[in-house]
């Protein structure tokens, strides 16, 4: 259990949409969002811990637990939320691939459809493992960010100040970005993925301490990388307003790669997007299949596992089609993360109710103090989403 599921799950968050959101935070508010990111880190740690605890103590995935512990209607709600959020994520993965190839001067409509078909076929016809390693190596390009952060000479005093001093703005743009930051960090699919990973390794309650350490470290590590992306971007293009394009985001890597910054950025983007582009739709199909109680396996034919494979195919197809729409890529990427942020609190409520149940977890259920802390996290996340929704609705009527 070296690089455990917690680590992998949390780092899948630093994909195309994640990079776009963090880079936008850096360029728009310089170091202004750092304190908020610290809050989000705390939230992520708690949420991932709850997910892996459920997995370790029950030996079941979240999809199965929701079906067994809630009414069918509530199960349907959770499943719909997960599918909606995940399809949004798949859109962002393909948009990320599109943005990356456009950096290299290839039109996106030429690349996205074949990329979608290729990913779909790789997973279904089984040489995905091999391809995955290539994607993984490509996505290592993003480890240039911490180096870029140091070489970019940020104002360390300012950075430290913003990490510990609360700074929140009431403007709609800030709230929107904050929800996107929540969405890209505490995205619904991660909890499902983390729990499934634990179950799949056959972890027992006795292994819980190890698993918890893995989940917590993974979450902290992923958020650490996110912080370096914000700081690196802020020190290069901070204060230039909202992020305009992928090329602008790539500038943050200039201190490391000089003229090769765009190439490096594009490589990382393709790798990370392709990696998540297979895992995200799979984990959603897996969770839905688990909840519905149907066959779920990629080595079955469409006749044996129609729901599972159909959902997987539909998500990829829909993701690729939406990613082809001629919307501004950065807006699309951040938009998908806002969607995740809006759905996230709903899934968190399920998670919270499940971990509070003594009938399910026995002594491992949330204690009174933990319950208060976790509830605060969920309420906080829900509050941000609600504020954004209210602002948006008022905006339609011209009241803001």
């Amino acid at each position: 259990m070296v690089a455990g599921p917690g680590l992998v799950a949390a780092n899948a968050g630093n994909d195309a949409a994640g990079i776009a959101t963090y880079a936008s935070a850096g360029s728009q508010y310089v170091y202004g969002t750092l304190f908020f990111m610290v809050l989000v880190t705390v939230a992520l740690v708690m949420v991932q811990e709850m997910a892996v605890r459920l997995g370790a103590y029950t030996g079941k995935g979240l999809g199965a637990l929701i079906r067994e512990q809630f009414s069918l209607r509530l199960t349907a709600l959770a499943v719909c939320c997960l599918l909606l959020a995940n399809t949004g994520l798949v859109v962002s993965e393909f948009a990320g691939i599109g943005a990356a190839v456009e950096l290299l001067g290839v039109p996106k409509w030429l690349v996205i459809p074949p990329a979608a078909v290729l990913l779909w076929a790789l997973v279904l016809f089984g040489s995905y493992r091999w391809a995955e390693r290539i994607f993984l190596v490509m996505s290592l390009a993003f480890f240039a960010y911490p180096v870029a952060m140091v070489l970019g000479h940020p104002h360390w005093g300012d950075v430290g100040h913003h990490l510990v001093v609360p700074h929140l703005e009431r403007s709609k743009e800030f709230i929107l970005l904050a929800v996107a930051l929540i969405g890209t960090t505490v995205s619904p699919y991660m909890q499902f993925y983390a729990a499934a990973g634990v179950v799949d390794r056959g972890a027992k309650p006795e292994d819980y301490k190890l698993i918890r350490a893995d989940a917590v470290l993974g979450a902290v590590f992923a958020c650490g990388i996110s912080l370096t992306i914000i700081i690196a971007t802020a020190s290069v293009i901070g204060g230039t307003g909202p992020l305009q394009s992928a090329a602008q985001a790539a500038e943050a890597l200039k201190p490391v790669a000089g003229h090769g910054a765009e190439l490096l950025f594009a490589l990382g983007l393709i790798g990370a997007s392709a990696l998540a582009g297979a895992v995200v739709p799979l984990s959603a199909s897996y969770a839905v299949g688990e909840a519905a109680g149907v066959e779920r396996s990629v080595s079955r034919s469409f006749r044996d596992a129609p729901l599972f494979l159909g959902l997987f195919t539909a998500q990829i197809a829909l993701g690729a089609i939406v990613a082809l729409t001629p919307v501004d890529v950065i807006q699309l990427l951040i938009g998908t993360q806002v969607l995740q942020g809006l759905i996230s609190p709903i899934v968190l409520v399920y998670l919270l109710v499940l971990t509070n149940r003594r009938s399910l977890l026995g002594a491992a259920a949330n204690g009174p103090r933990y319950r208060i802390a976790a509830t605060t996290v969920v309420v906080g996340v829900a509050a941000m989403s609600t504020i954004l929704l209210v602002q948006t609705v008022l905006g339609w009527f011209g009241l803001v």
Binding site: L72, G202, Y286, G293, S299
Partner: protein, 455 residues
Amino acid sequence: MATNTLFMSTTARLRDRKVDLELRATASRTVRSSLVSLAGLVGGPVTNQAGEEVGRVVDVVARLYGPDPYPPVTGLIIRIGRRRAFLAADKLDRVQAGQVRLRTARVDLRDFTRRPGEVLLARDVMDHQLVDVDGVQVTRAADLYLAPLTGRVVLVGVDVSLPTLLRRLGPRRWQVRPTPDRVLDWQSIAPFGAQATDGPAEVRLRASRSALHQLRPADLADILEDLGRTERQQLLGWLEPEQAADALEEMEPAELENLLREAPPEHAARLVDEMEPDEAIDALRDLQPGERETLLARMPAAEAAELRGLLAHREGTAGGAMTTLLVTARPEQTVAEVRAELAAQAEHRTEIAAVAVLDPQGRLLADISLYDLVVAEDTTLVADLTAWLAQFGRPVMVRPDTRLAEVADQLVAARAASLLVVDEADRPLGRILADDILDALLPERGRLHFRRFLQ
């Protein structure tokens, strides 16, 4: 003329088909009208003789594990105001779609206490996993159907179709209407109640449902892979250890590792002990050293020592892939005696491909394939067979440290189904079968597991 008969028979066939369809439609209408959907019943009103509502149905209690072929409903749990109470089945007059009528005007309320073999259907069975023995799959119960018979109500089937799930999402009016599209007969499923394995021995015996014993080991392995942790352990508890071990041999290594890790150590040790030695070794190799010791310590000393000896061989060598199960014969025996010995080894039928002939010092003289044994006369001496086989050259032998790739080459060159592993003095240590070689050399071909994305 010919066309005419063809035409005639076609119309006759069409007419027959129409009649048949009508019959089936009538049958399904009758079935439909008599079945009561459990999902529709939960939350429905309970009325007394006078037609006044006394409460609402919360859950239905049935004796799942008892002597009856179809579980009888033993009572209802109803909500009266804020209180929950148990209502025994003999108080029920009629159970119909979405409502229950009582036989009496007054209700005597008791608190519910679970008796052995009883299960709360809505809480413990509906929406939970169950094994569909006919379709060989793990599925979830979308709805349960009760059939009111004379004087009692029994649970007859389980609905597992997606449309039924959609029906349950709809308004109350839809919910009470049964939709028996894909209904599994209660006889052909293995349900998991929370309390399924509590209670007296005969209850448990009934729980190890005979239906499960029709499954082939490979199917059982698939099912074990699909089940949740608690259900998996329950199912293992119901099976005879021999049957369970056969299924474990067919499982994906990673899944088997999980299963052994989560089982109580005594049970896991028993299962590994029942497995064929070569498969048991593969399983033990995947475990952590500590876990391996835990299991070995709980096995009978002789078996544990044998497995420890095998574990000493490196993986990927002949010694690591062989089975220590050897059927041996002496030259002075007759073919009939050897056959009798083989017959006594029926439980290991998949591991036997030939019989090794040994001299008094235990050295190998010949390896007689089953074909040669089958075609030989009963009275033939093994010594004669050995002499006759000598014209085809020495039997194929490898040392325990031979690499598996080379073992495969030898096997192919010899065109045999198995070959013997021997020590320096040509004393057989074990046998390698063709399927073990295939297992070791073929890439893993698993079903989807997240593990694939995590390693």
